[in-house]
């Protein structure tokens, strides 16, 4: 359970990656890419978050139980977001031709 000591350079490397990604996301947000802006920004955020979880929070060394709980947290939030959105996105749909 007690975690191994991670070399400082790993932490610094992760830090550098995080800063680089922050700069990247700020820069990209200034360019008009339509809906892709949103997708890119979120992808970068997810990457950054995962880096923190994986290295800083030592999930890379953790038991599978911990990993399960971490995964469950994000999964449940997705359930919330997806099902709420499912209502809003499909409200405008017209009832199609009677398909029965």
């Amino acid at each position: 359970m007690t975690h191994q000591v991670v070399p400082v350079r790993t932490y610094v490397a992760v830090f550098a990656a995080l800063i680089a990604l922050t700069i990247a996301t700020v820069l990209i947000s200034g360019i008009d890419l339509g809906e892709y802006n949103f997708i890119i920004a979120l992808t970068i955020a997810v990457t950054k978050g995962s880096l923190v979880v994986w290295f800083f929070m030592h999930v890379n060394q953790s038991s599978s139980l911990t990993r399960l709980f971490v995964g469950a947290g994000f999964f449940w939030m997705l359930i919330l977001l997806m099902f709420v959105l499912s209502d809003y996105l499909s409200r405008g749909w017209l009832p199609g031709p009677r398909w029965w």
């Binding site: 449940w76 359930i79 099902f83 709420v84 499912s86 209502d87 996105l89 499909s90």
Partner: protein
Amino acid sequence: MSTTLPRPETTERPNYLNVDYSWKSWLFTTDHKRIALLYLFSITAFFLVGAVFAGLMRLNLLFPDGLFEHDTYNKFFTMHGVIMVFFFLVPSIPATLGNFLLPIMIGARDLAFPRINLLSWYIYIAGGLFAVLAILKGGVDTGWTFYAPFSTTYSNTHVILAAIGVFVSGFSSILTGLNFIVTVHKMRAPGMTWSRLPLFVWAHYATSLIQVLGTPVVAITIVLLMLERILHAGIFDPNLGGDPVLFQHLFWFYSHPAVYIMILPGMGVVSEIIACYSRKGIFGYGFVAFSSVAIAVLGFMVWGHHLFVAGQSMYASMVFSFISFLVAVPSAIKVFNWTATMYKGSITFDTPMLYALGFIGLFTIGGLTGLFLATMAIDVHLTDTYFVIAHFHYVMVGGMVLAFLGGVHFWFPKMTGRLYPEMWARLAAAIIFVGFNLTFFPQFILGYLGMPRRYATYAQEFQVLHVLSTAGASILGVGYLLPLIYLSWAWRKGERSSQNPWQAKGLEWEQSPTPPPTFNFDVPPVVTERPYNYSEEVEVGGY
């Protein structure tokens, strides 16, 4: 009735009750068993408050023109719903029986975080005080569902106080859940594998998952509601560009899973009782255990069935309806397995068993009528009528409350070291069963006839059925009073119990003294057999 009771011991050995009698030793205890009792008394008090509101409501509904002011009646059902759901039923089994038994059942000396356990009780009381304050200052009239924009803009009652009460008590629920999850994962005795966990523990584990994952969402929703009520920034107010249906989504994201917080622990209790009084292991142990988890997980994806007529997209409704039927399958699995457990058993009918059988019957009716409501075209007619009221009282009162009473009787000797008076208890169980059905069955009919809920006054033609219902409630009220009286009496004066009066299986009966000492066991328990191992002989091979 087990007849071979050993003679009561004359000198009491040290147990969790007699170690110390001071107030301090109760209010600062970290012993899960004492905290369980603190909870037991507090939820009983809240139940009585909720029940008085119920009685006043039933009184009002005797007459088509009502008896009280409309506003008064509206406050009655709101306070009844809020108190019963958040301050009675959600903590009822988990925080009392669960708190008391879960560590003992898995062979632990306490919950993983005893101080957090105590903290959770204080938080619960703090939340309860806000609710009581809201009542004393004149009450709330939004319905327990707090729908916006009525609650944010139009109601001029003490919404914020009640909301704080619910918000605060939510954390007590979260902390209990957290404690249980960690305890089940990390504190099991040697040999207590997952496949040997009592079903009670499985049910509580599933419940805890819901508490931990669902409650924070309702908490934040309530924060938004309060902020909106103060600032009127419009987040749920259509006149300011907000969307009131969003509130309903966020509310039911918790509150549907919450109904499973209000049934799963009861199912756990019933599994224990049926096994004990049939002298047999639960048929299909693995399925019953796993169905609890399945209910907890699937239960998060059905909340939209409360919004079929609320302006939700028809396609979303369709998905929610479908998953609602899916979540009924694990419930069905449980009902059938309990029934099958009795097959070729050796059954006795002590009070807990009566309650358990009552539970199966009433839960089945309540659950099946849930399917009516999950059927979209039917729900259009039935939503917001007394049919819904009847449905959820069948599952919550006929289900959970009966299970709670059954559990309290079953483990009463464990908790107090004394036996309850069996004849009185059976009588009370019978009265409750009759009173309950008389109260709530007519409401199914009322609902299909079109009687809307939350009505202080109603059309003449509904009166007969309402009178029947009130008559039932009076009987039910008597039925509830009886256990209150004879259990209090038995606590002090009852016959002393042996360690295992029902000759039940399980660590709590077999390896822990009755009443248990502070750290539950004299010798650290070791588990060597499957659960409910009433008989060594096996008829049909496992699967």
